[in-house]
């Protein structure tokens, strides 16, 4: 009997957790044929689209032109097009899990995207740590090189003196 009760409780939990919105991240590649001026329009449209599906935007980044690591091909209405460049952008939002599927179906039909990826993620900012790490790694070699520069002229004088002494002998 207790087991049965537990099952009922678990079921109710599952139902409630379905309704609770989760945090997602939507990363996308936009077609490079879009002009730089029209990029902000596309960016605004994506934001509007996400919020139209009941998504609350947590963080996002403007699409930026990148060189792709490999050639991506996409077939649109029987025409195969190849891409070496694209605009990469991402947006982080909270949304109901069932609405996300609808969003995905909608995005599948959009010809502006080369590819996109919807992932579950965490609310915390995941990029801030990277910049901190980068700063640390860049500072160390600079400090070392300065020390070397200071050390070099002293060594030269000493060497000159040593050479003079050798010549005198």
């Amino acid at each position: 009997m207790q087991d049965a009760e537990n099952k009922v409780n678990n079921d109710s939990l599952v139902e409630t957790s379905d309704a609770v919105s989760k945090i997602y991240e939507f990363g996308y590649l936009l077609v490079p044929t879009i002009k730089e001026e029209d990029l902000s329009v596309n960016y605004g449209n994506i934001k509007e689209l996400v919020s139209s599906f009941g998504g609350e935007i947590i963080a996002d980044d403007m699409p930026k032109a990148i060189n792709l690591a490999y050639t991506i091909s996409k077939v649109v209405s029987n025409v195969r097009s190849k891409f070496n460049k694209a605009y990469f952008g991402w947006i982080k939002f909270t949304m109901d899990s069932q609405k996300v599927l609808e969003l995905k179906k909608h995005l599948d039909l959009d010809p502006n995207f080369i590819r996109f990826l919807i992932l579950k993620t965490v609310k915390e900012n995941t990029i801030a740590t990277k910049r901190f790490v980068r700063g640390e790694t860049y500072k160390r070699p600079k400090a070392k090189s300065k020390e070397n520069e200071v050390a070099v002229p002293i060594n030269e004088k000493e060497i000159d003196k040593e050479i003079d002494a050798m010549v005198a002998i």
Partner: protein
């Protein structure tokens, strides 16, 4: 790398967009470096692998380098 890179740098979530970090864990051919060589904990290695694969899908990292 004997110590876990991610716990040493206090990285809790391995992000597929952090290409600079992910590049440390692929070899010159573009393959993912094995768990034995990276010294990353099993849990982080699994997260790292999926992050690299997501980055590859979006063209941020190569599948192979010839």
């Amino acid at each position: 790398m004997k110590q876990d890179y991610f716990s040493a740098n206090n990285i809790k979530y391995i992000d597929y967009k952090d290409v600079e970090i992910l590049k440390k864990f692929i070899n010159p051919n573009g393959k993912i470096v094995s768990h034995k060589r990276t010294g990353v904990t099993s849990k982080n290695q699994r997260a790292l692998t999926s992050a690299i694969k997501h980055a590859r899908f979006l063209g941020l990292l190569p599948f192979i380098v010839k």
